[in-house]
Amino acid sequence: MDELEAIKVTFFQECEELLADLEGGLLAMQDGNDDGDTVNAVFRAVHSIKGGAGAFGLEPLVRFAHVFETLLDAVRSNEVPATPDLVVTLLRASDVLADHVSSARGLGDVDEAVSASMAAELKACTDPNAAPAPAAAPVVVEADAPVVEAAAPALIGADDALDDDDLGFDFQPMTITIDEQAADVAAAAGNVWTVSIRPKSDLYRKANETALLLRELARLGPIEATLDASAIPPLDQLDAEAAYATWTVRLETDEDENAIREVFEFVDGDCDLEITRGEAVASDDALAALLAGSAPAPAPAVIEAAPVIEAFEPAPVEAAPEPVAVAPVIKAAPAPVAAPAAPAPVAAAAPAAPAAAAKTQQIDVPGPGQSVIRVDPERIDRLIDLVGELVINQAMLAQRVGEYGIAPSSNLAMGLDELEQLTREIQDSVMAIRAQPVKSVFQRMPRLVREVANMTGKQARLVMDGENTEVDKTVIERLADPITHMLRNAIDHGLESPEERKAAGKNPEGVVRLAALHRSGRIVIEVQDDGKGINRERVFGIAVKKGLISPDLQLTDEEIDNLIFLPGFSTAEKISDVSGRGVGMDVVKRSVQALGGRISISSRPGQGSTFTLSLPLTLAVLDGMVVDVAGETLVIPLACIVESLRPKAEEIRPLGPSGSVLAVRDSFVPLIDVGLTLNYRDQSPAATEGVVLLVEGEDGSRAALVADAIHGQRQVVIKSLEQNYQQVEGVAAATILGDGRVALILDVDAVINLRRRGPPLPSDPTLIAAE
């Protein structure tokens, strides 16, 4: 990738962060938190986006950002009050800005009409009285414009300030009177100019240097510089910080006056400058003589003119190339600090140096920002893969050693234990590198809430909690969709309209709370609304009407609430713009389950509902129970297992043609032979001969899985089956065990569902017999 492209990638990453800062700042302002820092940060965010966009020539983005920035600048300087209404406008503008960024990135389009009207609105806010400000930001124009102030003349008087848009400076011939003789000389020598420079002490205070000005002049053509040191006082009266010298430079150049002036751009006002065409009218014979004995171009320093200075002039620190031959002279006289001639300040400063150096030690590390190093995620993924292999290898080694019957107290076994500890620690540390706060997902949500509320005519306020909760990057990427759906659902179906809320004695503005927290090795995301709660009667009715459940089914409140996750269920009476479009909660549930997660809902009538989503912290490793089924080794995720037991014959009851249930304490759970479900075998052995694992699916439904034997519990590294082979129903992924064999990781929910759908094989003899 070309370097500029790489920076562009950085720019867009930075834009994401800046947009998040912008929105965060605006939301803080909305909460009445508009101290100067917040407003400044908001301003800077837009300002930086504009700056970067300008560098890449992203004009529509620059234009919009400019209008936005102008208003924010007025807000931060208190010219425009930050009223709640204004902040709402700014928030909408931040959404449009985000669209512009996406568009510049090639990820979508900006609605031009929306953008234009937003820009007009921003301008109106900036200056309600004035006619619309000029639309196009001048920034882009500046790109190739010569630095404008170049031409701003110092003392010469041609003081017509140049417009920003004035790209080429018109050359205005100076109306100066030159005597004929000089004119003749000029004509003969090409263009001869006389430049007189009298620096003020401010020039040196700003670290400008006369020597450099002369060097710059020498770039335009051969120069002869003469120093008038007559103003320099005797040494005992010399103020090291003051400026005494005047330089007269004879310059031969084909460039115009503007080019000469441009040399003095940075010292405008800090020196008396006179530029005249033609030879200097040398009234002083001595000067004329000096001019005559000129040194060769480019920079003939006429140091003879300054004998006084030379006297106390130590050797220059840095022998710079030719033009700077002039330097010692200048430095000696007026230059305040840099001059080696002024030892006093240097010595005074010396003690400060060690302190400064000491400070140095700390500063290399702490970048004030959060992220200090940027690493290609692929490298981390590779590292995680390798550590995964290390874990497997370590397990294999442990198994081999075990096979030799080495005593656990032996040095070898103990060393191996330590290795296992270390491996675990390395694995945790490596996973921590990839862990990121869920903030990156959360920060997209305020906009979503605004938009959904707008579209549905609801008033909603989003409260977020636990944005800094960390979770593996692979999980974060997949959180966005479920959270988006849950939030949409909460606003669209959960919250009442402002009128309904008022009627119910609630604040017309509904509150939606989005929270993230860690709970027993999983990340839990909660979406809570303070709406009307689930209308259970209606949900039950719809489920019956759609044939999803039987009308005489007895369900608990919680079970009814969770009916909304059934495929084909949609409670919206009319398909709304937001939650409709065929994506129901069942889809959300399935995608969550595919990640080894669970989702559930609880609700209190009149007080609102809470969606709870839980996911494993990582998709790279898993704690599992290793079991034997029909000679195959399988891993069952530990998170699904409630308990394991050996059933007695009297606890098993037949149910229906082929099924049977197991009595576990007060309830019956369906008995599922894993071997049969996965087609490892045609005939189930008696459940009493094997081991039963009581598992719980994502929806809370339980089942008893029959396996032949349990090998124990261990952490396994998840290897995707889809990537390496193909998706297999009932199998979530694969892993490599300590002995090097591949074991499949069971997808418990899929196994339960396979069972629910009925026996998969039409050729199943029992099924035919039953019919």
């Binding site: 920076i7 720019f11 800077r44 670290a207 710059e216 940075f266 400064a356 290399d364």
Partner: protein, 121 residues
């Protein structure tokens, strides 16, 4: 001798752009993300030239320039102000604070190197 340029800008993009342009022109580049950080890096690397943004958190460009100019060790280091502000008032304020020169963003590498040449011995 390779010259060291300290760039002070809160925008990563801008720091990267500066680095690309300056490194391409043979400068050694050190970076800081705001004025406060800039003062720390300054003492660590003793740059020959400083390029600074104006709008920055913690310590802005004006404050940074003023802080450099009151430090006897560093006050002779040329400082170029880098900014998108076409607002002359901002530039004047930067000059009053002690800025040596300025570069208007967006810049091209030639313009940048040109400005450095003009202020650097």
């Amino acid at each position: 001798m390779t010259r060291t340029v300290l760039t002070v800008d809160d925008s990563r993009t801008m720091r990267d752009m500066l680095r690309m342009a300056l490194a391409g022109a043979g400068f050694n580049v050190v970076e800081a993300v705001d004025g406060e950080h800039g003062l720390e890096v300054l003492s660590a690397h003793r740059p020959d030239v400083i390029i600074t943004d104006i709008n920055m958190p913690k310590l802005d460009g004006f404050g940074f320039i003023e802080a450099v100019r009151v430090d006897d060790d560093y006050r002779a280091i040329p400082i170029l102000v880098l900014t998108t502000e076409s607002d002359p008032a901002k530039k004047d304020r930067a000059r009053r604070a002690g800025a040596t020169g300025w570069i208007v963003k967006p810049f091209n590498p030639e313009k940048l190197v040109d400005a450095i040449r003009r202020v650097a011995a």
